[in-house]
């Protein structure tokens, strides 16, 4: 860059955060930080206030890319990302791959439908009106019937968003005819051969639709024109940073990151998914190295009530609360869901918050991780694996406002090494790892620069993180991994 500085702005649904990063040797240094309340109706107001605070001395409203003292990058959460409905064929095959692709583009999945779209599913899609409907199914040259029938059903519906078709390429022409009157994007197949993943084209399609949709409203087009830069969806900025860290930071080849917010808990992993030499047999798809999952029912504020519902068994097991105490916790979470800016007023509420955080971590990790099951064959026992193996994760990062604050206060974070209830399957959870807190809550802002300066961002991120705890499982769940 021409200047050794860059300004990053993250426009969230509540706060607009900004920082100036200066490139010093091989990494960035954060110089100034600011956070202002987001001006919901016209986003540039808060944007300019925040930028003015971190970089005073010029009237930013009148500047452009050519006259600004340094380049400006920005991300927008756009209410938690684009709402995507996924329509696939077999649930554990094309539908699962489509979900992985949508998550890895920073999207929020509102519903997924396997096989044929029924009238009830169409009605649900019409009432939810997702921004994007991702239609897939069939390998190239494989099944055409379901995608064409589903395209036909969509053609007759009141769904008004964009359709991305990423199924059997042999059906593309037919789908394109059927949906000629719709906003339709056709990409390469998500699963060109059975079990082979190809998620990049869909990721790219979702990303460009995101740009078109969010830039159009709330004044962001003005920022795009003025600073000659495209916004990134906030979750994608974090994903880009996770990718950069895994690719460029020494010793970070097997790590995971949990981003816990008020509404969702996002879990990222950058590690191999399956280790054939560990003696397990893979069932279903081998998931990608870089994986993101988003849990819409897990969060500290807006989703507090649903976190309690999802996590009731976990909370009962870890808290040793009586029925009355659990009921009090339940009331606290209902109150949070309506009163999202509430801060804990006393010790008991602080304890409640830490329990809720534990439930978010527990369930998001359990859902992200795969499992193995011992099966007996004529040649002795064999482990059959589904999903992603996280046992070799050796570093785990916690970010988001709450986990950043927990790190600063030195509060221990509860991370499970096994399910709270005995299960037949063994969950493939991290066994021996160091926990790092994003003390300064800087990762989402830094993520804005990750695509352009991956190496510098990776080094900056790992030097900004602080190691707070070391977790080691005394009795690893499976013997092969004692050596690993």
């Amino acid at each position: 860059m021409t200047s050794d500085r860059a300004i990053c702005v993250d426009i969230g649904s509540t706060w607009t955060k900004a920082a100036v990063f200066r490139l010093a040797d091989d990494r960035f240094v954060a110089e100034n930080r600011a956070a202002v309340a987001t001006s919901v109706d016209y986003l540039p107001d808060a944007f300019f206030n925040a930028v003015q605070q971190v970089c005073p001395g010029a009237d930013w409203r009148s500047l452009t890319a050519a006259t600004a003292p340094c380049p400006v990058y920005f991300s927008s959460s756009a209410k938690g990302g684009l709402k995507v409905a996924v329509v696939g064929l077999v649930p554990e095959m094309s539908l699962q791959i489509a979900r992985l692709a949508a998550f890895s583009a920073g999207a929020r999945i509102c519903a997924s439908y396997p096989y044929r779209l029924t009238r009830a599913s169409i009605a649900a899609i019409e009432s939810a009106q997702p921004d994007i409907l991702l239609l897939c199914g069939g390998t190239d040259g494989g099944n055409e019937r379901y995608v064409t029938e589903n395209a036909q059903a969509l053609a007759g519906s009141d769904f008004r968003g964009t359709v991305i078709f990423a199924g059997n390429n042999a059906a593309a022409d037919r789908v394109s005819d059927l949906l000629a009157a719709r906003d339709l994007v056709i990409t390469a197949n998500l699963m060109p051969d059975f079990g082979r993943l190809n998620i990049e084209p869909v990721r790219e399609a979702i990303r460009s639709i995101f740009l078109d949709k969010i830039v159009a409203g709330k004044g962001l087009d003005r920022l795009v024109t003025a600073f000659a830069t495209q916004p990134v969806p906030t979750p994608l900025a974090v994903l880009n940073l996770v990718r950069a860290i895994g690719d460029h930071a020494d010793g970070w080849q097997n790590f995971a990151l949990i981003d816990m917010g008020g509404a969702t808990t996002d879990f990222y992993s950058h590690s191999d998914s399956w280790y054939p030499e560990s003696g397990t047999v893979m069932k279903g798809i081998v998931e990608p190295r870089l994986k993101r999952t988003v849990e819409g029912d897990l969060g500290m504020r807006v989703s507090a009530e649903s976190t309690f519902e999802t996590g009731e068994a976990y909370l009962a097991a870890v808290s040793d609360f009586s029925t009355e105490q659990l009921a009090a916790l339940s009331r606290y979470t209902s109150n949070l869901t309506t009163n999202t800016s509430h801060l804990p007023a006393n010790a008991i509420e602080r304890h409640y918050d830490s329990l809720l955080a534990g439930a978010c971590i527990y369930h998001s990790l359990m859902r992200h991780a795969g499992s193995i099951e011992e099966v007996f064959t004529t040649r002795g026992p064999v482990w059959a694996q589904t999903g992603k193996d996280l046992r070799r994760i050796n570093r785990l990062v916690g970010t988001g406002g709450y986990l950043a604050a927990m790190g600063r206060n030195g509060d221990p974070v509860a991370i499970p090494d096994r399910p709270v209830q005995p299960a037949e399957k063994v969950a493939l959870l991290p066994q021996n790892f160091v926990y790092y807190a994003d003390f300064d809550y800087i990762l989402p802002l830094l993520g804005n620069l990750a695509e352009k300066f991956p190496r510098a961002c990776a080094l900056t991120a790992v030097s900004a993180l602080r190691q707070t705890q070391h977790y080691e499982v005394k009795e690893p769940c499976q013997r092969e991994f004692n050596k690993a």
Partner: protein, 137 residues
Amino acid sequence: MQNIVLGVIGFDCHSVGNKILDAYFTEAGFKVTNLGVMVSQEEFISAAIETDAKAIMVSSLYGHGEIDCAGLREKCIEKGLEDIVLYVGGNLVVGKTPFAQVEEKFLKMGYNRVFGPDCSLEKVVEMLRNDINSGKQ
């Protein structure tokens, strides 16, 4: 090109014959989705649906074929694959049961053709083409 799905069913790990079949059927002009060893009935069906396969070729070598293979035809019908061709072959049962009895048992289960360990693959391919083209159940 016609798609077929191939695999060794159950908890059977015999992989050599599976690789030979894969190479032979591919050479014969089929698009083979080879699921390898230790394949469940559900995996055969998922693969057949996504690839729009015309046939599922099931191997079983370890003697538990009868229990592993039972019910596959019914599951195919449940999943909308009522017309798919099902072949099964290998060491299907333990012991010295005459092949005619084994064959009858598996035909009753809904398999279109049943093969022992020593069949001619050339003939299998010929039958497979005919069975697929005639839409034979």
